[in-house]
């Protein structure tokens, strides 16, 4: 990296860090209750919330990893952005409105409310923690690599800086400030990544940059399956079954990502929550048009670069000089916006779930949990070797699809689910996923079973939940009919009667929540 691009990157990263801290710390008013602190007082508007969800979802894996994967593996990886966005159609169809109306605001909360078991809630919290840490470690590793490539600083500076800013933003104002920061970061990421992609694309196609390689156009793009070194969880497996497995696990896993689903509660009611997901779908649809452009550019102009570095090396390869330095600085800012948006969201969601489980929930416990989770993520990051961010994130999807997906779908739509059945499903889904991944890492290859393990773990988790629930019919919770009515009827009908006559309350406060009102 030239001196100019180092300076530009440092300025870009500093800009994003300062903007995040300012928006996160200065903007929110003082919250008066724990409920406000947790769920942004339920006043977030659909498009604002949609931008926040999109920012959280387009992590390091979406911004840098996908483009690198496309550059490395060619056409088969083009399907990954398609699968990543498909999950929200499933979310709006099966989960959003009933979950919002249930009034429980984390996944473990939902498990306890729906199935009446404190033990199940604790068990679910462990899964939330596991998925959250996978996400955080992937972001931190990516941040370390990016900072080293761009400025030559050691990787730990990237880990520590992202962790520190995330903790500051999360501690300052809970979900409210995280939402503001993320919405700003979505637009920053969209403008930066789209703008730079268009400039680079023009430089390549119109300006004739890149010399003879410019003639090697899209024709040379398809095929050419590069050997893949790290292919945990089927990521980067270029065959058609590998692609299909990844697509399906993305579609089913999105609903169980703790930091995504907690966003549903930042909306006032089910109507606004559904619209948030539609807004997310639109915003993600726009954003996911960009990684293929970088992938193709990277395949032509920086062949052989490592996955995470492809996007960042492109400006220097295509436009040497000041223009390239400025574009590199912009991309550095966009990449850090991605790390911070996801890290803040995961940190807030996981800390909320953990603190509510371990102790009596409150702002103090939330802050303590935030620090503890951040410290755990830093420790894990320093103990593991950097894999590509796509692998870490995709493994989070696998775990979520095999555990929370069956829990949510059956919990919302099937009256006969019991706590024992749900626990059995979590054991089977989570246990098998972890065991197969551990075996894969340890070198135990089970052929198709370990490469496409999601094709086995997800159905088996569903089967375990259904079978064990049918075997334990006596443990169906008492009020299941009322819970179903609460989840599936519009708020105007199902809400508490006294709220209909209170003109002072707005829509957002009508819904009674057993877990929030008495903090």
């Amino acid at each position: 990296m030239s001196g100019g691009s180092v300076a530009a990157s440092a300025v870009g990263i500093a800009f994003v860090v300062v903007i995040s801290v300012v928006v996160g710390v200065v903007r929110p008013r003082r919250y008066t209750s724990a409920a406000e602190f947790y769920v942004a007082a339920r006043t977030v508007r659909p498009w604002w919330n949609g931008a926040a969800i999109s920012a959280e979802f387009t992590s390091a894996a979406a911004c840098l990893g996908l483009a690198g994967l496309i550059a490395l593996h060619g056409a088969s990886a083009l399907w990954y952005p398609v699968g990543a966005a498909a999950g929200y159609v499933v979310v709006i169809a099966l989960v959003v409105a009933p979950l919002r109306r249930s009034g429980t605001f984390t996944l473990p909360d939902f498990a306890q409310w729906r199935l009446g078991s404190v033990a199940l809630r604790r068990f679910a919290t462990w899964h939330v923690l596991a998925i959250g840490l996978l996400y955080l470690v992937a972001q931190l590793h990516s941040a370390g690599v990016v900072l080293r490539v761009l400025t030559g600083m050691p990787t730990w500076t990237g880990w520590v800086s992202v962790t520190l800013v995330s903790v500051v933003v999360t501690l300052a104002g809970g979900m409210g400030s995280v939402t503001s920061v993320q919405a700003v970061q979505y637009w920053l990421k969209l403008v930066v990544f789209t703008g730079v992609a268009l400039v680079l694309w023009c430089a390549w196609r119109c300006g004739g940059r890149g010399g003879a390689r410019a003639t090697a156009g899209l024709e040379g793009f398809e095929g050419l399956a590069a050997p893949y070194g790290e292919a945990l969880a089927g990521a980067g497996e270029p065959s058609l079954p590998g692609v299909l497995a990844v697509l399906l696990v993305c579609a089913l896993g999105t609903m169980g990502l703790p930091h995504i689903i907690v966003r549903v509660y930042a909306n006032g009611d089910a109507r606004a929550a559904r619209r948030s997901i539609v807004a997310t779908q639109v915003l993600l649809g726009v954003f996911f048009l960009v990684p293929p452009l970088y992938g193709i550019l990277g395949r032509v102009h920086v062949p052989g670069a490592r996955e995470e570095e492809v996007v960042l090396l492109l400006p220097g390869a295509l436009l040497p000089g000041t223009a390239g330095d400025v574009l590199t600085g912009l991309l550095a800012a966009g990449a850090f916006a991605a790390f911070l948006a996801t890290s803040c969201g995961v940190l807030a969601a996981v800390s909320g779930a953990v603190s509510a489980c371990v102790t009596r929930a409150g702002v103090g416990a939330f802050r303590f949990a935030t620090a503890a989770v951040a410290l755990a993520a830093l420790t894990l990051t320093s103990l593991t070797t950097p894999a590509t961010s796509v692998i870490g994130v995709l493994f989070g999807f696998c775990l979520s699809a095999a555990t929370f997906c069956p829990l949510l779908v059956l919990g919302i739509w099937w009256r006969r689910l019991t706590a024992a059945g749900a626990a059995a499903g979590l054991v089977v889904g989570g246990g098998l996923t972890a065991a197969l991944a551990a075996g894969d890492l340890a070198g135990v290859k089970l052929g198709a079973v370990s490469v496409y393990h999601m094709a086995f773990t997800v159905p088996l988790a569903f089967v375990a939940m259904v079978v064990i629930s049918l075997v334990t019919p006596g443990r169906v919770p008492m009020g299941v009919d009322r819970m179903m009515a609460r989840m599936h009827l519009p708020e105007q009908i199902a809400g508490p009667a006294e709220d209909h006559s209170s003109p002072g309350t707005d829509r957002s406060s009508r819904q009674h929540s057993p877990y929030i009102d008495d903090y």
């Binding site: 398609v82 709006i92 169809a93 099966l94 409310w113 299909l244 489980c357 009919d481 009827l489 199902a494």
Partner: protein
């Protein structure tokens, strides 16, 4: 310690049969949407010639938006009709 679940608000004016009917209708709408998503995810990579993948993968994003909007409208209509 997590508190035990608080009992729900008093029974609304809606009968259990109506809840079941609405749930059934919503389940059919939701399953149709999910089936469309899964069908698209499986069929498109199978049917698309490898050279066309770039065009097809970019054209699918609007399809997801259309499916999400259709799901939203059908689900809300089912709730209004009751």
């Amino acid at each position: 310690m997590p508190r035990a679940p608080v009992p729900l608000a008093s029974d609304g004016p809606v009968s259990d049969a109506r809840v079941r009917a609405l749930m059934g209708r919503q389940a059919r709408i939701a399953l149709a949407t999910v089936a469309a998503v899964l069908a698209a995810l499986v069929a498109l990579p199978l049917l698309t010639a490898r050279g066309d993948w770039l065009v097809v993968t970019m054209a699918v994003q609007p399809l997801w938006v259309v499916l999400a909007v259709l799901q939203l409208r059908r689900a809300e209509r089912a709730e209004r009709d009751r």
